[in-house]
Symmetry: C2
Subunit: 350 residues, 2 copies
């Protein structure tokens, strides 16, 4: 069996939803990070029937997934939505693969680790074949909350999000672009992917509504944050808003701690994290915006300042590429962690 | 002296900054509300030297303001920025006019009432010729906070804003439109009004930065809210963000109260206010967005729900036309209140 330069044995990787926005980003990230792919198996629905995928200068036909697709596959990177994951993940696990699922299907299942490797990589040691990737707004949030919690113990988190359209997929990005053109030429372009006009507008509605008035998106941020930080009682609230931005989610976050900490202390703690970049010299115009973060790997933090409404709070502004941090990059980092710590389920047949 | 149909004697009105975005909106609102204008005097800087203004089918030449411009003027509606107000308002007051100033120049002066008529109209009884209009983000916020405070006593307010570009003036609106076109055609369009690209982006930076890391805009929301609600100790915090929307500011607001209140109680209290429309049946897709509010007079509230991070909090989503609620409409409502309650300074010479 061959070994790659970084000492990791190559593995067979299936990508479920390979032609989607996150699927495309997964291929890019696997390539950039020289992930040791032995065989690649791009899978997508019938709509992508005759598509081919290019990966490292090689062409791959896109196959329609069936329970048989996962034979001899070590890792399935799934981002085809919750329904497809529910349907196919059990078969993939049955076949011996580890499924890293980007959908919400299994995130809150007790037996499924919900993981951001920098935050709770250790939870991967207990996987049973299924691993969940958090919701994109949660992923960038917990990366920042974790070091602050270690510094001063989190007591409460209040989040308002500013989420880009790419979180809703490729067609949503097209809708923003086309609808924007239409508005600029005073033409009609009724919403189709979104519930309302997104061009030059905001929609305080992401995913469907629950009985308590929250959206599922907001509920995910609340519950997934607690699960990943292993703080099941942490008071968290969230308002999630779609904004006319293509890529990167932003978050206005108020954190309350067990003790008062200075912005300088917080900056130091955050700056020590390899996944975080602190951009916080506002008088010099240094703070992150979505277009700065798009296509980049770090979670960016700025506007760190004492909360004027509490003794122990800090206000923060967090920006990250939702397709990477919140999906593709996190999934590949989980896969890397599994390889590194020999947590795959069975050796690849050679 | 003639009287108008509504029994108010006509008054002489000067508009300082008549050619700007808010100046134009002022003329529209005066007309719509049949404000009893006897003589209109549009004033603007040298840049608008040869401009004329149309008001109720009559043409008016735009004059450059001097301290002499305010003779025989009853009401000055000023929206030409803080510097111009500082320079000219004292002369106008000296000349016997009441100045309703839309700039930040005098808002926090103890002797100057800062007024949203529906909230603290009574404060107008103590004016000394100068009256301040609040910052746009504050105005729509206090309209909603006031009835909730009466219902259950406010204990804390946490605001994240989503502010449209029209808050930064006409040129800012052009920059959003032109830069958006450029981005769509992959052309360069460097920012000029804004600090950073605003097309398909967000800028967490409105007005300049203070030493404590807050922007002046955020500081205004904090301090003006306390002043208007007459709650000088109220804990308030704010993060203010510019979004690529033309008109209407939106706010994600968490209010904590002295006692727990249900969303239904809050909805009832708000629905009783003539300036407020409650749009809050989210499962039917009913919640306000910026384009719904643009050009409209109400402050819209939706997404009212119990805070999941406290015992006595409510989350709200507030949207209003910043040019009207936050500027022109509020100024004209102040003028109406002055007329109604005979609070002008001296009779107009006939």
């Amino acid at each position: 069996m061959s070994r790659t330069g970084n000492g990791k044995r190559p593995v067979n990787v299936a990508i479920l939803g390979a032609t989607g926005r996150v699927g495309q980003e997964l291929l890019k990230v696997l390539d950039e990070r020289k992930f040791p792919v032995a065989k690649l198996k791009p899978l997508a629905s019938a709509r992508s029937k005759d598509a081919t995928i290019t990966f490292q200068n090689k062409q791959y036909p896109v196959e329609q997934p069936t329970p048989e697709s996962f034979r001899e596959v070590d890792i399935v990177l799934a981002s085809a939505g919750a329904e497809i994951s529910k349907e196919l993940a059990p078969a993939a696990v049955e076949a011996g693969a580890v499924v890293i699922d980007n959908s919400s299907a299994f995130r809150m299942s007790e037996s499924v680790p919900l993981v951001v490797p920098e935050v709770n990589g250790h939870a991967l040691r207990n996987h049973h074949g299924l691993i969940a990737n958090p919701n994109c707004s949660t992923a960038q949030l917990v990366v920042v909350l974790k070091p602050l919690h270690e510094l001063a113990t989190l007591k409460r988190v209040i989040v308002s999000t500013y989420q880009s359209v790419s979180g809703a997929g490729k067609e949503a990005m097209d809708e923003l672009a086309e609808q924007t053109k239409a508005v600029l030429s005073e033409e009609d372009y009724p919403p189709s992917v979104f519930q309302r006009q997104i061009a030059f507008n905001l929609i305080p509605h992401i995913d469907s509504f629950l009985d308590n008035g929250y959206t599922k998106e907001e509920d995910k941020v609340i519950k997934e944050t607690r699960k990943i930080l292993e703080l099941p009682q942490l008071p968290v609230t969230c308002t999630a808003v779609r904004v006319p931005v293509a890529i990167s989610h932003s978050e206005s976050v108020l954190c309350e701690f067990a003790r008062a900490i200075s912005p300088a202390e917080a900056r130091d703690a955050l700056a020590n994290c390899p996944s975080i970049e602190v951009w916080d010299s506002p008088t010099e115009g240094i703070y992150p915006t979505p277009i700065d973060a798009a296509g980049q790997d770090p979670v960016y933090v700025g506007r760190i300042r004492r909360d004027t409404s509490s003794e122990t709070g800090l206000n923060l502004w967090i920006v990250a590429d939702n397709l990477r941090i919140g999906a593709a990059l996190n999934a590949v980092r989980i896969a890397e962690y599994l390889l590194e710590h020999k947590l795959l389920r069975q050796p690849v047949p050679s």
